[in-house]
Symmetry: C2
Subunit: 304 residues, 2 copies
């Protein structure tokens, strides 16, 4: 589908893309660049890329598709660096978790004749680095695009075909709406999980050993989310500030309402609130976005 794909940044998403593209025969050559020499060596050693380059500028030469897989805060600098070296007619996309900030940072650098199509695969795990990727990461996951007013429909269709061939479903969305939706389903939950794990980490009256031993009661699920890449998440919050603060405000408002119900002993408010949340879980399972196995199917299985 593309002759030469350049992956800038070689972490979980890029390495999963490389594996998926190869497995489905979607690409001729894959070139890559990562800031760290160790990552570049690993990527070459495990065969993710056909060649690695010390600079992003080198990596993108002659590529008909360039994928920016770096933390959101690094997108602008990379865009400025690669701009003079992009082939005419090439498509540039990104996989950042925030879209407005990426458009503002990358857009102005893109030369005439290059198609810039912002994107975001809603896929990932708590692991990072070039060894963390796997070909099926995008299977049945949504890959969102936030096309610009002047986006070429053919270039968009071609890019969508690529990610659909990797197993993803695709959707279009205005960038600001994307950033609000993600603040709800991803960014705020991550901040909350990081905070809860941080609280347990700081507390002196409950030991680390106790937190770890007894984590299966709910806490361990928060630790998985809070084990995600720190730099990537720092950039998400710095660049999706407005929507995250908006949703955080809603969250603390609701939390205070429930906190007050606990303090006042108002069981009716609590039971009513806890009863309504089951429907969303059912919807997610019916939509095929999570397993219906109890406890995510971890550990000893149900025998019935």
């Amino acid at each position: 589908m593309y002759q030469k794909v350049a992956l800038i940044g070689l972490g979980l998403i890029a390495s999963s893309m490389a594996r998926a593209m190869r497995e489905h025969g979607l690409v001729g050559t894959i070139t890559g660049h990562a800031r760290s020499a160790e990552t570049r060596e690993t990527a070459l050693e495990i065969g993710l890329v056909d060649s690695v380059h010390d600079t992003a500028a080198e990596a993108v030469k002659g590529a008909d598709l360039v994928v920016l897989c770096v933390p959101v805060g690094a997108m602008g600098v990379i865009a400025a660096e690669i701009a003079p070296h992009l082939a005419s007619g090439a498509t540039v996309t990104d996989v950042g978790s925030v879209k407005r900030a990426v458009i503002d940072a990358v857009g102005p650098h893109m030369p005439e004749g290059v198609h810039f199509i912002p994107g975001h695969p809603l896929a990932g795990t708590e692991q990072s680095g070039p060894r963390a990727g796997f070909a099926t990461l995008f299977t049945n996951r949504w890959w969102l695009f936030t096309p610009l007013e002047n986006t070429d429909p053919e270039a968009l269709a071609r890019l969508k075909s690529l990610v659909e061939a990797m197993g993803a479903n695709t959707d279009d969305m205005p960038p600001d709406h994307h950033d609000l939706v993600l603040a709800v389903v991803s960014h705020t939950p991550h901040l909350i999980a990081y905070t809860m794990v941080g609280v347990a980490d700081h507390l002196r009256r409950v030991t680390h050993e106790e937190v770890i031993k007894y984590s299966a009661t709910g806490f361990r699920d928060f630790t998985r989310i809070a084990a995600s890449d720190p730099v990537m998440w720092r950039d998400v919050f710095l660049t999706n500030k407005e929507a995250t603060l908006d949703i955080l405000g809603r969250f603390t408002e609701e939390l205070f309402m429930l906190q007050r119900a606990i303090r006042m002993g108002d069981g009716e408010v609590l039971e009513d609130y806890f009863s309504r949340t089951r429907a969303i879980r059912r919807g997610i399972i019916e939509a095929g976005q999570d397993t219906d196995a109890p406890d995510f199917g971890r550990g000893p299985k149900k025998d019935a």
Copy 2:
């Protein structure tokens, strides 16, 4: 190990105990009681119990072990009801998630010659009811006991042998410390998850369909926790009020600190905070309390 075990309440924990006790041949007869006629019928139909009884008083007659598996708020009423019918020398235990409140509610009713040993298996799933149980639920999970000053060591040892034979690890803990630890690793995380799911449910600018489709970005893990039994959790918060409010206070303090860092654009604070939380995840995996498979091993697997 026990001739006759009476299970009062026939939900996830009781039904898992019944299956585990039978599978390992740990019990002669199992009797049961549940408030709902439908639950009683189901329990009999699927063979969880040898007999069901319309009242808890009937169910405990002649039992050498009575296990209270009802929501924490119902323990006191049940204790008062069964007290005159308990066999001399019998052990009464419970599986409530809060221990101080259960001791205060149940303790005063226990007659001379009956061993009351408060307990709490740190095991469960988001599913409830008699059909939700399975024999391996307690495998490698902790079962905590909060013995009283006058607890008979032999009765405690016998009860521990039973739950260890069901696959659990056992530990003793003072009740107030238990309630604080659980507020950290279980109660506060549950309240937070319920709140986040509630926020998404209320928001009009992001549709339910969007929340469900794009939930794999973190949110779906919160929905699993927030699908837990509403009445059980209502009672947990009403009866572990002090410790939960204490930890919630810490949580909002930390959350406001991070919120301020986002507002001020202080990336260093965020990155530093997000970097420290990975160590706890590693500890949990090393302690065998969670899988190290990416994304809990859900869905398409890593192929490397």
